[in-house]
């Protein structure tokens, strides 16, 4: 508690400290979609950041945005395969995201039973209420979401549920950070690390950034002041030439994260190669179910192949480059004209965590 209270001086003091640092262009990435929102809300993009010649680019921190189009097609096809028997459930934002051919909303319009759940655990009750149906949960998400599905699967096992399976499309944060750290086109100077993911994984998984790539990282909270403090740490560490991983969100993030949740993830899943929309295949950046949970594996039950490779192009939509921080949303020709939150073309405009949606929402046109 005392740490939470004393961790930040007031904003004016931090800004003063930032201004005392030498003026040198810098490019940092915020990895978490909620940080993208927080940064806009702090109103520092066109003021403090511009003044200090510091850039904050958005990264692949939106689970809907990085879900492979081919997987969306795959699950939509499955939902359409046996209308009277198969029910597909997933988190709300995924419904409007398009695959190459179709979306789950389209499948629903064609008669498929596609339902939104707020929690993986809702599938248990659904499966029990509908013994005549196969409940297939399209499980996306980063480490924040994964322990919930792990717990749900352990419960399904305890209850011997025979009509519930999961189509696992998880993504792990550390492997994609490595890809970004290595990308010569990006030339990043450091990362604002995701606060809520870190409540689960803790500090250790990020250490390699500083150790192997010389890049500082700050685990940050979501208030304006948290963002400004993170920026200060990043700029100061770069000036000193001493990259570290700093935990500036100690109230919620313990050094080892949530060990209990991590153990549950480990009990149920093993890391596996995964395809990130717009980015490509990244080794060991996703999950498959352990053999013990095979009866709950939608890929096994319905004879589906795991999708690890997918086309990366999406016509004129440049979501892939947006996710990698290579361009800002307004640089896409469709931004704000043919692509808006009401009529999204790409996944980055669909989700409230998507960079394109937030640039649009906050009227950021450059």
């Amino acid at each position: 508690m005392s740490e939470a209270q004393s961790k930040h001086p007031d904003a004016a003091t931090v800004i003063e400290r930032i201004r005392a640092l030498p003026l040198r262009p810098a490019k940092f990435m915020e990895v978490c979609g909620t940080h993208t929102v927080a940064i806009f809300r702090a109103g520092i993009r066109n003021t403090l950041l511009a003044e200090r010649k510091a850039e904050l680019v958005s990264g692949p921190g939106c689970p809907v945005c990085v879900t492979a189009a081919a997987e969306i097609d795959d699950v939509a096809q499955l939902a359409l395969r046996e209308l009277e028997r198969i029910t597909v459930t997933t988190y709300g934002d995924l419904l409007r995201s398009k695959g190459h051919e179709t979306s789950l909303t389209d499948a629903r319009a064609r008669g498929a039973d596609v339902r939104i759940v707020l929690s993986a655990n809702e599938n248990i009750a659904l499966a029990q209420q509908h013994p005549e149906r196969e409940i297939v949960f399209f499980g996306i998400g980063f480490e924040t979401t994964q322990p919930g599905l792990a717990h749900t699967l352990l419960e399904a096992e305890r209850r011997y549920l025979s009509n519930f399976t999961a189509y696992v499309s998880h993504k792990l944060v550390a492997p994609v950070l490595e890809v970004l750290a290595k990308d010569p086109r990006l030339k990043l100077d450091g990362f604002v690390l995701p606060g809520h993911v870190s409540t689960i994984i803790g500090e250790e998984p990020y250490e390699f950034l500083a150790r192997d790539h010389g890049l500082p990282g700050v685990i940050a909270g979501f208030e304006a002041l948290d963002i400004i403090v993170a920026l200060y740490y990043l700029l100061a560490m770069r000036e000193k030439g001493e990259p570290h991983i700093v935990n500036a969100y100690k109230a919620a993030v313990r050094p080892a994260g949530n060990q209990h949740a991590r153990e549950m993830i480990d009990e149920v899943f093993v890391p596996a190669d995964a395809h990130w929309r717009g980015i490509g295949a990244i080794p060991l950046s996703g999950h498959v179910l352990r053999k013990r949970f095979e009866t709950f594996d939608a890929h096994v039950r319905f004879g589906l192949e795991r999708i690890i490779e997918d086309e990366s192009g999406f016509g004129e939509c440049r979501c892939g480059e947006v996710l990698l921080g290579l361009i800002k949303p307004p640089e896409c020709g469709l931004f704000g004209t043919r692509c808006t939150p009401e009529e999204p073309v790409g996944a980055c405009m669909v989700s409230s965590e998507g960079a394109c949606a937030n640039y649009f929402r906050f009227g950021q046109r450059r």
Binding site: P63, S119, N121, T144, P147
Partner: protein
């Protein structure tokens, strides 16, 4: 979707809690935070409490998150 919301545990029965988040009460499973007790502040994500939180922090974060979920709702309505 990676968003976690802070709230206070108002009722607790086995693994299940009623958590008050701002003005509303949500059902959350507390299996991931063993030791969570009545009156504790927790971060809730997708129906699960994922971490215990000091009260101070919970209050601070709430405002941003409320605005955030309104935005999500407006997007969902747009479909």
């Amino acid at each position: 979707m990676c968003l976690a919301i802070p709230g206070v545990i108002e009722e607790l029965e086995g693994e299940w809690a009623k958590v008050r988040v701002g003005g509303v009460t949500v059902k959350a499973n507390v299996a991931l935070v063993p030791g969570a007790a009545l009156g504790d502040y927790v971060l809730v994500h997708a129906g699960y409490a994922i971490q215990l939180l000091p009260q101070e922090e919970a209050q601070e974060t709430l405002e941003l998150l409320r605005e955030f979920s309104e935005f999500q709702e407006s997007l969902d309505e747009a479909k």
